[in-house]
């Protein structure tokens, strides 16, 4: 993955880089780490189980990381979900989850 690819993806690269002190390799390494992040799966499972509390924890954690890395297209739906889960809003989260997973896929491929 390259900086340009991240930029094309829609990440606020400048912000993300700034938070990584302008170190491109460090930034890219961090983004790479995200691909294996277990919170995505945790979120999926919790939502499937209807455990909104656990789902919130997972979404919240993801939100922090995504915010740090300034991966805006992924951050936005995660943020939206986090706030909904915070209030344990009873609703169908599947479409929002789909958006998140699609964005993840768009970033990392499978």
């Amino acid at each position: 993955m390259t900086i340009q690819e991240l930029r094309d993806y829609g990440a606020n690269v400048d912000e993300g880089l700034a938070r990584c002190f302008g170190k491109e390799d460090f930034y890219l390494r961090m983004v790479g780490l995200l691909a294996k992040e277990p919170s995505f799966e945790k979120l999926q499972t919790a939502l499937a189980d209807g455990n909104l509390k656990e789902a919130f924890d997972a979404a919240h954690s993801l939100k922090g990381v995504l915010g740090n890395l300034a991966l805006t297209p992924l951050f936005n739906p995660v943020n939206e979900m986090t706030e909904l889960l915070r209030k344990e809003t009873p609703m169908d989260y599947s479409s929002l989850l789909t958006t998140i997973l699609q964005e993840k896929k768009r970033l990392f491929g499978n």
Binding site: R19, L34, V65
Partner: protein, 955 residues
């Protein structure tokens, strides 16, 4: 001397009448009469008193050259010959003598005549009444000039009378007489002595010298003795009399044979004894002390003012005036009229001195004769105030000394009672103090009235201006309505200006208007003024010209708001009174710079309607306008110029005006300002969008208006309606390390007022937030209290957009100066940080972040792990804990609380910083409750993290 023969003449003239019976008698008499050396004449003893004959000696007596002259002078009658004043007297005498049978028809009189040359002579007149055959009753008279004899006799009589007078005086003994001595200077012996204080030597038959000598010994001054003896030597006195100086006198201070010391006057009057011709001297010796003293008294004092008048000589005193019966209690009058001065001081004065107010030893020194003499060497008087306590009461005595004779150390002591005077003075002072207090109360009442009124008017003004500006936001308004709203705003602003003027004037009058002495940018206020005026002039169709001369500096020390007020007052006036196509010219000139002080001159010139010369002197008085109708047309309070002048004067500046009706006016303001080292407008200029502002006001309209005003300037503000809410918000922002730069607090709020909120902010938090109190009251009275509480500045409500930025900048600048020494920051390198973070990526980033500054990180995946790591670490191992809040197993809040609960010293003080994506206030509050020190929101800004750590970690 040639003159006619009187006889021949006479005989010729009388021939007809004389020749009847006895023609030979007359020539015979004439012949005899011419042989007599004295004057001889004959006149008829009838009412005509016609002269029948005069001899030539008579003509000589009367200074006439011939009979014709004599006839002209006297009318040739006996009456015409005598001095008119003497005639009646002598005629009566003559008649009486002739009528006396024993006188054989002889009489003698003396009288004055007036000679031809007008001089008066005395003559004697031996007359004889006779019946002359052929002539009937006649007087024949012998006269002679006795003038010289007469004068000599008069002088003799005068002397005799003088002598008799002196004798008489000598025999009468005066009260103040000590001794009277009559001495015959011709024989040199004393003839008679009288008096109550005579010396042994004063005996009839003794020589004068002995008397003089006996006295001269008593004089205290050597000099006096010599002069006295010389003056009264017998020969000297004789010499004096021959020089027609019949008097001699001498005054000296002496000790009498009784031992008494006093001033004595020894005087002598001399006269010749009329019969013997001996020279007699009458000596009078009198005591002249009181005479001498009254001289001084009359000159210096009113006797009535003193309860004691005493003279002090050497160490001796004698009371002159001082009646124990008449003076008030506590007069400390000497028990004896004469005595030793210091005995009196030591025995009577010093023992009653009130020692709580005066030192006795000091007083004794001050009252001793040596001090008095020294003090009076150069001074006219010497005063010592003595406070006495007699019978439990306080008496104030004043001892005033005057020099009567410095060389003789003869002083006058006047003692007066000042108790009443001082009491009256005290009472007067109390009265004055009361009056002052009353006046102050009235002034306070006036000030508070004005302050309250201003508030009462401003409160609804807040609503009017606030609601009006909200209403203007409505885009659906018709143009007409918008026009109305604009007019409402204009009027409201005008009304506010009037209120401000009145408040300013009352501040000036009560001396409460104070000037700031802060650095300010002259360029900045000139720019603001120019922007404002250019627009105003353009609107009115006037030209506006701004000129600078002499390169004024950018920065000075002073009160920029007040200077701006002065210039705007004048400039607005100029615009107001100028009609198109006229113009206003504003010139700023640096005219002098000396000793780091710069004198600036501001000239405001217009070609407006001008003013009449007669009005100019009144221009700067309050409530004056050239004519009342003008005021209405142009709309003003009549206070503007008075305020302007007062402010300029407070700045030690000057203001002057020249004006001509229908030509224009020119105002000149000159002020001197201290130079400021600041070179140019640096970082101090405020970027509104960077400001974090908190506004607190219980009045929702005012709150909304404030928010809107700030928003219009690009400032976003958090709004709260109570102090309690504001305090919470501030606490949260502090914890987030995102404190407010500026807190605007309404003063009067229910519950906690602005000043109280300030006090709490200052107690709870660091001092770097600028706090401004908003009020519609006059803040003069609470200024001190507010500033002590930590208020930085005041602003009037409702906020005016044009003032906000300047006020904020000023407040920041002031604040910036105050907190110049930055908070102590610590070195970050080498610090060990415990990081609790469940998300790997976040942890990695955080680790990297920390290592950038040379910090080591120990990572725990959750709160439980972090707690364990901390528990197992050595005391003081970790310098700080970064704690994610949401973590599995044990969250950050629990972990923080658990760490704080550990029984080890560093568990209490290690800084714990919450990290969370949730920056909601509730979250911040919870982390604070859990014992954490700060709350940073993710994503974490590196600089923010560093400063937080720097500030929280122990050095």
């Amino acid at each position: 001397m040639e003159h006619d023969n009187p006889i021949k003449h006479s005989s010729n003239s009388k021939k007809d009448r004389l020749g009847l019976d006895n023609a030979l008698l007359m020539p015979a008499i004439e012949w005899v009469a011419e042989q007599i050396p004295g004057g001889f004449f004959i006149y008829r003893a009838d009412d005509s008193m016609e002269m029948l004959y005069v001899n030539s000696a008579v003509l000589r007596i009367f200074g006439c050259r011939n009979l014709e002259e004599f006839k002209t002078l006297t009318g040739y009658t006996f009456r015409g010959l005598v001095h008119p004043e003497d005639f009646d007297t002598i005629q009566a005498s003559i008649d009486k003598q002739i009528a006396d049978e024993t006188n054989e028809n002889l009489d003698y009189v003396e009288y004055r005549i007036i000679r031809k040359d007008g001089s008066i002579r005395w003559v004697d007149d031996y007359g004889h009444f006779a019946q002359l055959p052929g002539y009937g009753d006649v007087y024949y008279v012998f006269i002679g000039d006795i003038t010289d004899k007469h004068l000599a006799q008069e002088e003799k009589n005068r002397r005799a009378m003088l002598f008799a007078g002196l004798m008489e005086q000598f025999n009468v003994v005066a009260d103040d007489s000590l001794a009277s001595i009559r001495c015959n200077l011709t024989t040199g012996l004393i003839e008679e002595v009288r008096g109550r204080d005579v010396y042994e030597a004063d005996q009839p038959g003794h020589p004068l010298e002995a008397c003089i000598h006996a006295r001269s010994d008593g004089f205290l001054m050597e000099n006096d003795r010599k002069r006295f003896e010389e003056l009264f030597q017998a020969e000297r006195l004789e010499d004096r009399l021959y020089r027609d100086e019949a008097h001699a006198s001498f005054v000296g201070y002496c000790r009498r044979q009784s031992g008494k010391l006093c001033f004595v006057k020894f005087s002598c009057t001399m006269a010749k004894e009329p019969v013997s011709g001996d020279l007699i001297a009458f000596f009078m010796e009198t005591e002249s002390t009181s005479e001498k003293i009254s001289e001084v008294l009359n000159e210096k004092v009113l006797v009535r003012q003193y309860d004691m008048v005493t003279y002090v000589v050497g160490n001796h005193y004698s009371v002159v005036i001082g009646d124990a019966g008449k003076v008030s209690r506590g007069s400390i009058l000497p028990t004896q009229r004469d005595g030793v001065y210091m005995d009196y001081i030591r025995n009577q004065v010093l023992p009653v001195v009130d020692e709580s107010t005066q030192d006795r030893d000091m007083l004794e020194k001050a009252l001793c004769p040596e001090t008095i003499a020294r003090q009076l060497e150069t001074k006219d008087s010497y005063t010592v105030d003595v406070t006495c306590r007699i019978g439990g009461e306080i008496y104030n005595k004043r001892f005033t000394y005057y020099a009567v004779d410095r060389t003789a150390k003869f002083f006058l002591l006047l003692k007066s009672d000042m108790t009443d005077v001082l009491r009256r003075e005290r009472e007067r002072n109390e009265m004055l103090a009361d009056a002052l207090q009353e006046a102050e109360r009235a002034n306070v009442a006036k000030t508070s009235f004005l302050s309250n009124m201003s508030h009462e008017i401003r409160t609804p003004m807040n609503a009017i201006i606030g609601l009006n500006s909200i209403a203007q936001k409505d885009v659906t308004l018709s143009d007409q309505t918008r026009g109305y709203l604009c007019k409402i705003e204009e009027s409201a602003r005008h009304l506010l200006r009037i209120i401000n003027d009145i408040l300013d004037m009352s501040r000036i009058e009560s001396g409460k208007l104070t000037l700031r002495k802060e650095e300010f940018s002259l360029t900045s206020i000139l720019t603001q003024i120019n922007t404002m005026l250019q627009a105003q002039c353009k609107d009115k169709g006037l030209t506006y010209q701004f000129v600078t001369k002499g390169h004024p500096d950018d920065w000075y020390f002073g009160d920029d708001m007040k200077l701006k007020q002065v210039l705007l007052n004048i400039l607005s006036n100029s615009i107001k009174f100028t009609e198109p196509p006229g113009g206003v010219q504003f010139t700023v000139e640096k005219i002098a710079e000396f000793n780091r002080q710069t004198t600036l001159r501001f000239i405001i010139k217009d070609d407006g309607i001008g003013m009449d010369e007669t009005f100019l002197p009144k221009l700067f008085d309050p409530f004056t306008q050239e004519n009342a109708s003008r005021g209405n047309k142009y709309g003003s309070t009549g206070l503007g110029m008075a305020i302007t002048r007062n402010i300029v004067e407070m700045m030690n500046g000057t203001i002057s005006v020249t004006s001509q009706k229908d030509v224009g006016s020119e105002f000149t303001v000159t002020v001197t300002l201290r130079n400021c080292d600041k070179a140019s407008d640096d970082s101090n200029s405020m970027v509104p969008s960077n400001l974090k502002v908190l506004v607190v006001d219980d009045d929702p309209i005012a709150l909304e208006h404030a928010a809107m005003t700030l928003e219009g300037l690009g400032i976003t503000a958090d709004c709260y309606s109570s102090g309690e809410e504001a305090l919470q918000a501030i606490e949260i922002h502090q914890a987030k390390h995102d404190p407010y730069n500026l807190v605007l607090l309404d003063w009067k709020m229910p519950g906690m007022d602005g000043v109280e909120v300030t006090r709490r902010i200052r107690t709870l938090h660091e001092d770097d937030t600028t706090i401004i109190i908003l009020t519609s009251y006059s803040w003069d009275d609470v200024m001190d209290v507010a500033q002590n509480a930590g208020v930085d500045s005041f602003m009037a409500k409702p906020l005016h957009p044009s003032h906000v930025v300047t006020e904020f900048e000023r407040a920041f600048r002031k604040k910036g100066q105050k907190i110049l020494p930055q908070k102590g920051r610590v070195e970050l390198a080498g610090r060990r940080i415990l990081l609790a973070e469940d998300m790997m990526i976040n942890a990695e980033i955080m680790k990297e972040l920390l290592s950038m500054k040379g910090m080591e990180t120990e990572h725990a995946e959750n709160g439980q792990a972090a707690l364990e790591l901390f528990r197992q670490s050595e005391e003081g191992h970790f310098d700080a804990v970064l704690m994610d809040v949401r973590m599995p197993v044990m969250d950050g809040l629990q972990a923080a609380a658990a760490i704080r609960a550990l029984k080890r010293e560093d568990a209490q003080r290690v800084p714990i910083i919450a990290l969370t994506a949730n920056a909601f206030d509730e979250d911040v509050k919870r982390s604070l409750q859990a014992g954490m020190n700060a709350h940073l929101s993710k994503p974490v800004e590196p600089d923010h993290l560093y400063t937080t750590l720097e500030e929280l970690m122990k050095p």
